[in-house]
Structures are given as structure tokens and as C-alpha cells.
């Protein structure tokens, strides 16, 4: 059982282009069969740590290594990837890029083909692996016909064809809708149980990963391991919050209610957590009054009516979508992977044109306006940062839009620095974009749109791959903007984000708009939730477990108190300066 498979000793790594190491004095031992969660702020070095484990460092990412890294007993230097990859199976952050084959079957078979396994045997193994991840019916599909979650499963099957002893996942949940995310975690759980492999998961969504039972949480913060302990202990220490990583919601709620979190309560899983007496405290807390913020709305500024759309394939992507948005509204656009959310935003910005139906902005039909004209009013932060980034240096990238619009340089400088600070990128302002981590790139694109302050701001999964601290900073700023009258539409898979920062949810499933109602009500509507692959947050379960009559009101209270706290902080902040 406790045979070491990985051991870092006084290990440090510096990328070729970096002046200072991205990882330093790392001491970490991973044993056979363990389930490890690696978490930490964006840009802290998680993926880098992963690359050390699977051998991409030092074999393809060049840089300086100090200290020792042992994999399966052997020493890192002499371990070429081929030998290693039989033991370490990696599922990359970017599943599109990992999908090498022309069809699902081929992609799963890839490693076997390279080992020159006879075809008959290969087909058998592939069939098994596909079955393991529930993709046996898709073997002839091409990657373009698969949803994000399905691609993830294919990548997993692709590594399962080897007798790996370590499975490494880099942010497996980043772009999955809640239900798919849950399914993925259960899949990982089952495979680990069946095969007894060591599982290492890099993830920001701590709560979702804990759901399957984790042996240890390793917390990385700017290049160092700041904590390495079993969940029950680590969750009690409050070290996650201190490092800007979101702890499970139910724990936050319990803390707010003044209940001390101790290992004996088994805080790592809500189902097994002992909550005797918590009910009373929570109840008392819910009765404490909280300041409620009133948010008033203006004229309708966006009106989408009976829009239909399809891409090359004859299958419709959007069917008869209609809704209208008023100035200053904060709206969450949620739903299944592949439901058509991103496509809808493209239509609104005029990047694609509806087959039928019309889109009005500020009352006027915009079908006649060019994309450029629309971009004066609408700011769009796309799902994939790599598509938006057109400049080499971060500053220029954020300044690009303003330069196109011919602002004066000093004005540009001022506003660019401001939005870089908001997005926590100011220290990197003179870096090339290529040296940033995924989450950092995403923030660059957000900054580059914020700087233009548009009337209508559309964000496609703004918090994907972001850590809690940056996420709250960005969201607070957006809140302040919307109080000044900016309209927000946010595509997200994060149910709590929806509950916390928006007062209206548009729900999409398979190209149709299936609901348009306040977020809280939405999640209590089991039918809609399941049709759109949504799921309730752990706050609901907490409320249920302590036997509250109406969980939604509890959630509402929690969110309001959080908002109350935030505004307090802000005031305090204001007084400081």
C-alpha cells in the first residue's frame, strides 16, 4: 500500500525564460494507491508540478532543476517519457489538443498503436477501455461531434489502455457543466476503486473533488507547498481561505453560524459530517437580520426574439430563442455543455447571423450593424482566451481595443493599469502573454474588455480555472460596474456564482431556452435542473440535513450575509485609503 511512487526532495524548477523559479523547495511523497488533490491559486505552479510528475519537465519543458525527484524509484533525469508514460497516464487541461485520433476509437487506441499491439488485441482493449468510461457507442465519432465531457472521457480511456499506476488530471472539471463534472468525478472514483491506481487531481473546485473521498490535499501557493494534510485536518485549519482558495460552501456557512470546525466532525464530506446541534445555531443565524441591497433596473437594452440558428451541419444549434434584458440587469446564462450558450453570445455580437428572428439593442434592429459598430456597445469575453489574444505583450493586449478606438496614450496607460490591477495582473504587465498560466491568460482577456467599459458586457465562463480570490475581486468589480448601470450576461457552470452575483437565470438545453427565472427558484425545480445538467449547491443539502423547512431561503440568507460582509470589507478598505 504505502510504497512510494513519487518523491520530491528539496526540488525546485525554473523555466528557461523565467528569472526566478516557478517551483521551489518542494518536498512531496506520493504513495501507491493514494488519492491526492493539488490545489492553489492560479499561477501558483500546479500544472508545473504536474509536468514534473509526468516527465514533460525536464524532457520537453527546458529549465533548471535543483534537488531530487524520484519516480517509481528511478531518478528523474534518466527517465525518458516513453518508459514513464506506461506508468503515469496524464489527462491534459486542454482535451481538444489531447484528442489526436480522427475518431474516438483511434484516439483510445493511440498508445497501443505506438506499442505495435496486434490489431485484434487492440480492438479488444479499446472496447474494454471505452466501456469503462461509457463511450462504447461512440467509437466512430469524430472529436467535433463530442461535448466537452465526452472528450474528457475519451482522453481518460486513452490512458486507461495502459497498465498505469498513476493517473494525473489537470483541471478535469474546468469546462464541464455541473452534472458532467459530477459524473467525471464518479468515474475517476470508480476507476480508482477497480484498478487501485494512484490518482492525482489538479483542481480549483475543491468541494467537487472532495465529494469522491480524497486522502490528502496538497496546497500550492506561489511555487511552494504550503500545506499537505488529510482533508479533515486541512479544512479545519482555514489555510485554504487564507490562500485564496474556496473552501466547501457548507463549511463557510457553518463557520458563519459560529460553529467551530474540528476534525472530529469529518468536515470533508457533508453526508458523513456530524451536525448534532448545528441546526439550532444555523437557525439562530438565519434569523439574524442582514442588510438587503436593492437593485433597480432601467429600460430594456437587449431584445432577442424568435432566433433560430444552425452551423454547417443541418442539426439546429439554436431553436426559437427569445428573451429581453433591461439596463443594469445581471444575468446568468447556464446549461448543458453544447447547449448553445456560446453560440447565442456570438449571435448577439453579430459574429454569426440568425437564420431567422431578430436581435434588437437599445430598441434598434442590429442586423444591419457591422460587428465593429456593435463592439462599441457590447463587450464579449470569449470562452477560449487563446482566440482573443492578438498582441505579444500583456500591456499591449489590454491596450489594443483602446488604441483601435484612438484614445490618447496617457489615458490608455491609466485605464490599462487600473484594469490590470483589478485582474491581479499588474506585476506581469511587461510579460509576453505566452508565459502565463491558463487562468492568467483568461484574466488578460477579461481585463482587455473591462478597459473599454461597454454598456453590455458578456462573459463566457469568466471564472473557469480561476481561484477564489481573483474570482471575487473580478466579480466585485463587475458588481460595482453593474450598479453604475452596466448590463452583465455571464455564462457559467458555477451554480454558486450564479446564485451569488446574478438575479436572473436563463437556462439552455439542446438549443432551446427552457427557463427564465430567479436562480434560487431554478435550482429548486428538479425537472429543469436535470434537463439542463444543473445541480444544487451543498448549501441546500446542509439545510436539508439540519431539517430546514425551505432550503432556498437559507441559501438566500447565506448569500445576502456574504454580500453584507463584502460591502463591510469594502467600506473598511475605503477607510484605509
Amino acid at each position: 500500500m504505502n510504497k512510494k511512487v513519487i518523491s520530491f526532495k528539496q526540488f525546485s524548477f525554473k523555466y528557461r525564460s523565467q528569472e526566478s523559479p516557478s517551483l521551489y523547495d518542494i518536498n512531496l511523497a506520493i504513495n501507491q494507491g493514494e488519492r491526492i488533490l493539488i490545489t492553489g491559486p492560479s499561477g501558483s505552479g500546479k500544472s508545473t508540478l504536474g509536468r514534473c510528475i509526468n516527465g514533460l519537465i525536464p524532457n520537453t519543458f527546458k529549465g533548471e532543476i535543483k534537488g531530487a525527484l524520484e519516480r517509481m524509484g528511478g531518478d528523474a533525469g534518466d527517465q525518458r517519457i516513453p518508459a514513464l508514460s506506461k506508468k503515469v497516464g496524464t489527462v491534459l487541461q486542454d482535451t481538444d489538443a489531447q484528442f489526436i485520433g480522427l475518431t474516438v476509437g483511434e484516439d483510445i487506441a493511440f498508445a497501443l498503436e505506438n506499442d505495435a499491439v496486434p490489431q485484434v488485441e487492440m480492438k479488444k482493449t479499446v472496447a474494454q477501455a471505452a466501456k469503462q468510461v461509457g463511450m462504447e457507442l461512440f467509437l466512430d465519432q469524430s472529436p467535433h461531434d463530442l461535448s466537452g465531457g465526452q472528450k474528457q472521457r475519451v482522453s481518460m480511456a486513452g490512458v486507461l489502455v495502459d497498465p498505469v499506476s498513476i493517473l494525473l488530471f489537470d483541471e478535469p472539471l474546468a469546462n464541464l457543466d455541473p452534472a458532467s463534472g459530477k459524473a467525471t468525478m464518479h468515474l475517476i472514483d470508480r476507476i480508482q476503486k477497480e484498478t487501485g491506481v494512484t490518482v492525482v487531481i489538479i483542481e480549483h473546485r475543491v468541494e467537487d473533488v472532495l465529494a469522491i473521498g480524497i486522502d490528502r490535499i496538497v496546497l500550492v501557493a506561489d511555487g511552494k507547498i504550503v500545506a499537505d494534510a488529510p482533508p479533515d485536518q486541512l479544512l479545519c485549519s482555514g489555510v485554504l481561505e487564507a490562500n485564496g482558495v474556496r473552501e466547501p460552501l457548507y463549511l463557510t456557512a457553518l463557520k458563519r453560524a459560529g460553529i467551530p470546525i474540528v476534525p472530529e466532525l469529518h468536515p470533508e464530506s457533508l453526508d458523513h459530517m456530524s451536525l448534532d446541534g448545528a441546526g439550532a445555531a444555523l437557525l439562530a443565524w438565519t434569523h439574524a437580520a442582514v442588510s438587503e441591497k436593492e437593485h433597480l433596473l432601467g429600460q430594456p437594452i437587449l431584445n432577442v426574439s424568435h432566433v433560430n440558428f444552425h452551423y454547417e451541419s443541418d442539426r439546429p444549434t439554436l431553436e426559437d430563442v427569445s428573451f429581453s434584458v433591461r439596463k443594469g440587469e445581471r444575468i446568468a446564462l447556464v446549461g448543458k455543455n453544447g447547449a448553445g450558450k456560446s453560440t447565442l453570445t456570438k449571435l448577439i455580437c453579430g459574429l454569426e447571423h440568425p437564420d431567422s428572428g431578430t436581435i434588437y439593442i437599445g430598441g434598434g434592429d442590429i442586423s444591419t450593424q457591422t460587428i465593429k459598430e456593435r463592439s462599441e456597445h457590447i463587450g464579449l469575453v470569449m470562452q477560449n482566451p487563446n482566440q482573443m489574444i492578438s498582441q505579444n505583450m500583456i500591456f499591449d493586449e489590454v491596450a489594443f481595443g483602446m488604441r483601435l478606438r484612438g484614445f490618447a496614450e496617457e489615458e490608455i496607460k491609466r485605464r490599462v493599469y487600473e484594469s490590470l490591477k483589478i485582474c491581479g495582473l499588474y506585476p506581469y504587465r511587461n510579460w509576453p502573454v505566452s508565459a502565463l498560466s491558463f487562468g492568467q491568460k483568461k484574466r488578460v482577456t477579461i481585463a482587455s474588455i473591462l478597459v473599454l467599459d461597454p454598456d453590455l458586457l458578456i462573459l463566457d465562463e469568466p471564472t473557469a480555472g480561476q481561484d477564489y480570490r481573483h474570482y471575487t475581486e473580478i466579480m466585485r468589480f463587475l458588481e460595482s460596474l453593474s450598479e453604475k448601470g452596466m448590463t452583465l450576461i455571464m455564462i457559467t457552470h458555477d451554480m454558486h456564482l450564479m446564485l451569488e452575483y446574478t438575479e436572473r437565470a436563463l437556462v439552455m438545453a439542446d438549443g432551446r431556452l427552457i427557463a427564465d427565472q430567479p436562480p434560487a427558484e431554478l435550482l429548486s425545480d428538479a425537472d429543469i435542473a436535470s434537463r439542463a445538467n444543473l445541480k444544487t449547491t451543498s448549501l441546500y443539502h446542509l439545510a436539508e440535513r439540519v431539517g430546514f423547512s425551505s432550503p432556498p431561503t437559507f441559501v438566500k440568507h447565506f448569500i445576502q450575509s456574504e454580500q453584507g460582509r463584502r460591502s463591510c470589507d469594502e467600506n473598511a478598505h475605503a477607510q484605509l485609503h
Binding site: E19, P432, S434
Partner: protein, 185 residues
């Protein structure tokens, strides 16, 4: 063994490079000042891939890109020119031995070197090899194919000379020097 001249990176560069080469055949920026001539984007891109990933990648992109491209677009392959594309790709790639592109170095000297290579190889390719192959394979009249080769060649040499150089320069700007990155307060 093979690895050193045909590494995974080279293969992937060749494969994805060829895909882009093919796509770019469909896209053309009209040159403002010369009426109804368009910039052949694919050869400009070929130049970049070749100087970054070397002659093997360059040659393969030319070969695969042009032949597969022809096949997919026209349902038939004009082999004589495919051969030339491959040779041109190799030629561009040979320049990479004298350049330090990946370290972000592309001064006047490098520009001269690159252009020397591109002019020579393209001249040989378009003015000589293409016509000769056309004659020997398709038995076309000499003067016709030489005129064809000349016009095509001149156009490509000029565009690659201007835009290819520009593109490579832009690329080198995106490279970061060793040990140059540090957080600032």
C-alpha cells in the same frame, strides 16, 4: 536512429503546418497597389514553419500541403509543382541553420540570409525545375511553361521577401529571452 531528423515535434509541425498551408490556399489578401493580384499566404506561412522547425518540416509541409491541397480542392494533383513546393520548403528550412529564430534573433544580417535562401531556392524551383518537369511529364510547350514559371516565381519571391520576412520578424518578437521574466511591484 531516425529520431534526430524526424522528431515528434517535426512530424506534428509538418502535419498541422500542412493543414494551415491548405486552409491558407483559400484565403488571399488583395494587394492594394498591384491590381487583381493576391498575396499567396500559404508560401509566406511555409517560410515561417520552415525556418522555425527546419528543412524536414518545411519540405513535408510543402509536399503534403500542396499534394493533399490539390487533391481536396481540385480532385487531381499537379505533381510537377508539388515537387517544387517541397523543394522550396526544404530551401527555406536550410536557412534555419544560419538563424537563431527561437531565441528571438532576427536582425538585418539574418534577414539577408533568409532572403538569400528564399530567392535562390524559389528561383531554382520556379524558373527551372517546375518548367522542366512540366515539359517532361505533361509534354507542354517550353516557352509557355517557362513564362508560367517566371510569373509565379517572381510573384512568390516578392511576397515571401516582403511578408515572409515580416511574419518571421513578428514571430521572433513573440519569443522571450532566457531568464528575462520577473514580477514587478
Amino acid at each position: 536512429m531516425k529520431k534526430d531528423w524526424l522528431s515528434i515535434r517535426t512530424i506534428v509541425a509538418a502535419g498541422i503546418g500542412a493543414a494551415i498551408f491548405i486552409i491558407l490556399r483559400y484565403i488571399s489578401i488583395p494587394v492594394g497597389f498591384v491590381p487583381n493580384t493576391t498575396v499567396q499566404l500559404s508560401y509566406i506561412f511555409l517560410a515561417l514553419i520552415a525556418v522555425v522547425y527546419g528543412p524536414v518540416a518545411g519540405g513535408l509541409v510543402g509536399l503534403i500541403g500542396h499534394s493533399l491541397g490539390d487533391a481536396l480542392q481540385y480532385g487531381s494533383v499537379w505533381w510537377s509543382w508539388v515537387v517544387v513546393s517541397a523543394i522550396v520548403g526544404i530551401g527555406f528550412g536550410l536557412a534555419s541553420h544560419f538563424l537563431k529564430i527561437s531565441d528571438g534573433e532576427f536582425g538585418w544580417k539574418s534577414i539577408a540570409v533568409f532572403n538569400l535562401f528564399q530567392v535562390v531556392t524559389q528561383a531554382v524551383g520556379w524558373f527551372l525545375i517546375a518548367p522542366i518537369l512540366d515539359i517532361s511529364i505533361y509534354g507542354e510547350p517550353a516557352n509557355k511553361v517557362f513564362v508560367q514559371g517566371f510569373t509565379a516565381g517572381i510573384l512568390d519571391i516578392v511576397t515571401v521577401g516582403i511578408f515572409g520576412t515580416l511574419l518571421i520578424w513578428i514571430y521572433t518578437q513573440t519569443r522571450t529571452k532566457v531568464g528575462s521574466l520577473k514580477k514587478e511591484a
